[in-house]
């Protein structure tokens, strides 16, 4: 079967299964909906159900094509049977019709952008995140036939509700089929917006709003890729839409899909938990205003939402010890994501590199698009006009939803995080313009469409802004080989293929920057993505920094005496910087006490890494991995009384402003201060630290190293390859793949 056909069948099968599941649920609940509402909502609600089903199959390690095929066929047959035998109750009265001119306007713009988006979605997947972790994880689940405990990538800890649908499509049609599933949400969103607006009697505002969203360059680039932001926007809009219908008709069964979608929002992306907050707020507020009991409706929404949320929470809690991983690591300390990393990551997300000030946000997010990774289109500079919609009750509700769904934006100022609010802002802009300046709205829409079209967007946006650049018909139809298209459009694709060629199937490759792991089956360990990656990076860095900086020796001396436990306590108050110990040695006279198996080592915080301070190599260390706090300690329990008279810590100079105290416990377990003062001296590093670092990586199962020329340590490895003990396997597009000898 030609590749495009199988891709389309795979995506169509996935969307069909979602629609079927949705139809069954909506019918089961006996909801009365207009035809357009049935269509739009059936897909989104069904997507939630289907995602949950795929989660169950993945958890049961039943991810096989045949299982998926059987499940999909069954649900579609069930929906067909139900549809024939029991038609829906008569739909609610249809909304007012659109004037012909407006219909034509919608059809032209919607049609043109649908062609643009369709071929881009069908072409090989080249998006930065889609070709790395979104589909990289999906490919891994397919290889493993379900979830595996992954502790080496924070992206595996994020909720992946949409990835479950990608997984279903990927099993039959690979990368492009997954992207087409997201494309289905992209197409559904404007159709849903228009259907909603027609129902409430504002069809022209619906056209304006729908097209402003649909033609937005960022929405298009995101929606045709294996990302999730447009799906989030679609789900949040569906929640809003269902709540509007519920508010008008009080069909209480509507609260079931509301709750499911609110949970599905979280399952797609953590930040979409705001959908649940919004749903509970609206239901609670409306019922309270109406003096109606509210406990049970709120409980229904919550329970349905939890059905979708709990699986993801439980997965993380059981496997990683943190239900909200990779966040809230202070609340749920664990060895997989570092607190200091989370703090740095959060800081980076709040202030993107290159963003001069928050005052630059509007222009970056709408016009330039380089710093915030995409742009919404210059017309959205007029978004404040939407405030004029406040004079309408509908406008007030839209703007409220826009504000609520943007509440998480300060935590990540990337332009993508504005997409969930965009439908509501767009509708408000449409409503604000239409009554008085109804002739302006089509002009603005036309301008937006032209300015968003790839050929014109390139004239004003930043050179490296994320956007669509053309209609890749030949690539989509595979008239251009996938390999060639991918090599041209995704610079790091060739690296992924080089890894696939050069690294054996069980090989692990350590690297500092992301590589499209959706195109290799080898395990890629990225330095920043996990505590394990942080550790590998720290080990390599140690060999370099210890070469350039002295090694500190901090020594406590005290009268010889028998002790059972020794503890070095950090006493300085909260402050920046960390505390770390490369080696902790205990002495009796001139002799170091040999480390014997009965010893027990402890540390606080980060107890999991304490052995690194007792392994007799300077390239590893115990680190607090969080800013200084009084009470941090490293402890050794000898298991029996030992006579000792000195403790020495070997440390790097890159410490926070630490103050240390030595404490001891006798066999009775009573703690007392043994020494408050210590001497600090410097000594030369031993030889062969680079080689020692490489051996530490090998001891942890890592045998390959990929370095981009832009990596900070690239020159170190290039110029000192012999000292490290590396063999250069391949040099491709500004990167080098080494084998650790």
């Amino acid at each position: 079967m030609p590749a495009p056909v199988s891709i389309l069948l795979a995506a169509g099968f996935t969307v069909g299964a979602c629609v079927a599941a949705g139809k069954l649920l909506l019918a089961g609940l006996g909801l009365r909906l207009a035809r357009a509402e049935q269509r739009g909502l059936a897909f989104v609600v069904g997507a939630a159900c289907w995602s949950a089903l795929v989660f169950v199959l993945a958890a049961a390690r039943l991810v096989y094509r045949n299982v998926f095929l059987a499940a999909g066929v069954l649900v579609i047959l069930a929906a067909l049977k139900w549809g024939r035998s029991k038609p829906l109750p008569p739909p609610a009265p249809e909304a007012p019709r659109l004037p012909l001119l407006w219909k034509a306007l919608f059809a032209v713009v919607f049609g043109a952008f649908t062609i643009l988006y369709f071929f881009n979605a069908l072409a090989p997947e080249v998006s930065p995140d889609g070709s790395t972790y979104h589909l990289g994880l999906v490919a891994r689940y397919l290889r493993d036939h379900g979830f595996a405990r992954i502790t080496t990538s924070l992206y595996a800890n994020l909720s992946q509700g949409l990835e479950m649908l990608f997984l279903f499509a990927f099993a039959f049609g690979k990368h492009s089929a997954a992207a087409l599933v997201h494309f289905a949400f992209l197409v559904t969103l404007p159709v849903a917006m228009l259907a909603y607006a027609r129902r409430i009697g504002f069809p022209r505002a619906g056209v304006v709003g729908a097209l402003l969203v649909y033609a937005s360059p960022l929405v298009g680039a995101d929606g045709i890729s294996a990302y999730n932001d447009v799906a989030v926007a679609c789900v949040l809009f569906a929640i809003f839409w269902l709540l509007e219908i519920w508010d008008r008709e009080r069909q209480t069964a509507l609260l079931v899909p509301v709750g499911l979608l609110a949970g599905f929002g979280y399952a797609i992306k953590y930040t979409a938990f705001l959908g649940l907050a919004y749903a509970l707020g609206v239901v609670g507020w409306r019922l309270w205003r109406a003096r109606r009991p509210l406990a049970r409706p709120l409980a229904v929404v919550t329970a349905c939402a939890l059905l979708m949320i709990v699986p993801w929470v439980a997965k993380n809690w059981i496997w990683l010890g943190n239900p909200a991983s990779p966040f809230f690591n202070s609340l749920f300390p664990n060895p997989h994501v570092r607190i200091s990393f989370e703090q740095e990551y959060a800081e980076h997300m709040r202030h993107y590199l290159g963003l001069s000030s928050y005052g630059a946000l509007p222009l970056e997010a709408t016009v330039r698009g380089e710093v915030l990774h995409g742009f919404l289109g210059p017309v959205f500079l007029l978004a404040p006009l939407g405030l004029l919609a406040l004079r309408y009750p509908e406008g007030r509700r839209w703007l409220l939803a826009a504000v609520v769904f943007a509440l998480a934006y300060p935590a990540n100022v990337g332009a993508r995080f504005l997409i969930p609010s965009l439908p509501f802002v767009s509708l408000a802009m449409g409503l604000a313009l239409l009554p008085r300046w109804h002739w302006v709205a089509p002009a603005i829409m036309a301008a937006h469409a032209v300015l968003s079209w790839p050929a014109f967007a390139g004239l004003y946006c930043g050179q490296y802004a994320w956007r669509l650049r053309d209609i890749p018909v030949e690539a989509a139809l595979r008239k251009i080989p996938e390999e060639r298209f991918l090599s041209d459009r995704q610079p790091r694709y060739t690296l992924a293929r080089a890894i696939e060629r050069r690294v054996p199937p069980d090989g692990k490759v350590f690297m500092y920057g992301q590589t499209p792991n959706a195109y290799t089956s080898r395990e890629l360990l990225v330095a920043y993505e996990s505590a394990f990656g942080n550790l590998l990076s720290d080990i390599l860095l140690a060999a370099v920094t210890l070469d350039e900086q002295p090694l500190w020796e901090l020594e406590f001396r005290f009268p010889a005496q028998p002790v059972r436990r020794l503890r070095v306590v950090q006493t300085a108050g909260a402050g920046p910087g960390e505390w770390s110990v490369r080696e902790m040695r205990v002495f009796r006279g001139q002799e170091e006490l040999p480390r014997v198996p009965r010893w027990r080592l402890r540390a606080h915080p980060n107890p999991w890494d304490v052995q690194l301070a007792f392994d007799h190599t300077l390239v590893t260390r115990w680190r607090s991995w969080q800013p200084l706090l009084a009470g941090m300690y490293v402890e050794v329990d000898f298991g029996a009384a030992e006579t000792v008279d000195a403790v020495r810590l070997e440390c790097s100079p890159d410490q926070g402003d630490i103050r240390l105290r030595l404490e001891a416990a006798t066999v009775t377990g009573q703690w007392r201060t043994l020494a408050q003062a210590y001497t600090t001296s410097e000594r030369q590093r031993p030889d062969r630290l680079r080689r020692a670092a490489i051996e530490e990586l090998k001891a942890r199962g890592v045998d390959y190293l990929l370095l981009y020329d832009s990596d900070a340590l690239a020159e170190q490895f290039r110029s000192r390859r012999r000292s490290w003990g590396l063999t250069l396997l391949e040099q491709v597009r500004g990167a080098r793949l080494y084998r650790l000898d």
């Binding site: 079931v256 609340l331 749920f332 060895p335 997989h336 062969r688 000192r720 012999r722």
Partner: protein, 208 residues
């Protein structure tokens, strides 16, 4: 009753729908009742995280890697060597995979590590390209070792050249890099992009 209708009824019944009563709890009561379980949940959450054992035994004690620190670079390099880049400091074109030659620019510099300073000869194999020679005419290339002029090689025609010249022991050190530089008296300047090319380098370094 059909299956679908009964399924609908079951869902509705589970959700408490199908009748007009919603329940009896008012907001303040709900809030009050929810407070204790919420507090309990928060307490549980705050005490949880990944478990750590009571203590860890000392790990396997590492041994330093055997042998002396390898030199970062050798005393001689061919441009086709895998670690050719490690020898290059500046003004030598990046090599494509395994290519035996590279263009030099204004003042190419390479670094070497010699194990002994005595009886070392600087050896270089290079080519004057016919295409550049047409513009530059005869060229003279000066070779420097640690900043001192060692030799001048006159190249009256295009083609291959071989330089071999003994280096005074006092010019060399065995505890750090030895830097070799070369300078052509005339460079070819590209009319298209202004790139300045010297000669084509194949091999260079010290032999004893």
């Amino acid at each position: 009753m059909s299956n679908s209708t009964s399924a609908a009824a079951a869902i509705q019944a589970a959700a408490g729908f199908g009748r007009d009563t919603y329940g009896t709890l008012a907001l303040p009561v709900v809030a009050h009742r929810a407070l204790y379980p919420l507090g309990l949940v928060l307490l549980l959450l705050s005490s949880c995280g990944a478990p750590a054992p009571e203590g860890y035994a000392p790990p396997l004690q590492r041994r330093p890697p055997p042998g002396p620190e390898p030199r970062p670079v050798g005393s001689f390099v061919a441009m086709s060597d895998a670690d050719a880049d490690a020898h290059i400091i500046r003004d030598v074109s990046p090599g494509s995979d395994g290519s035996p030659w590279r263009w030099t620019f204004q003042r190419p510099e390479l670094r070497f590590w010699v194990e002994t300073a005595t009886r070392q000869k600087l050896v270089a194999d290079f080519v004057i390209a016919a295409a550049t020679f047409r513009e530059t005419g005869p060229v003279t290339i000066s070779f420097f070792v640690n900043g001192r002029l060692l030799a001048r090689q006159h190249c009256p025609k295009p083609g291959k050249y071989h330089l071999e010249k003994e280096v005074p022991a006092a010019w060399l050190r065995t505890d750090t890099f030895t830097i070799v530089a070369a300078e052509a008296d005339k460079l070819w300047v590209s009319p298209a992009d202004g790139a300045r090319l010297g000669f084509i380098l194949s091999r260079i370094g010290f032999v004893s």
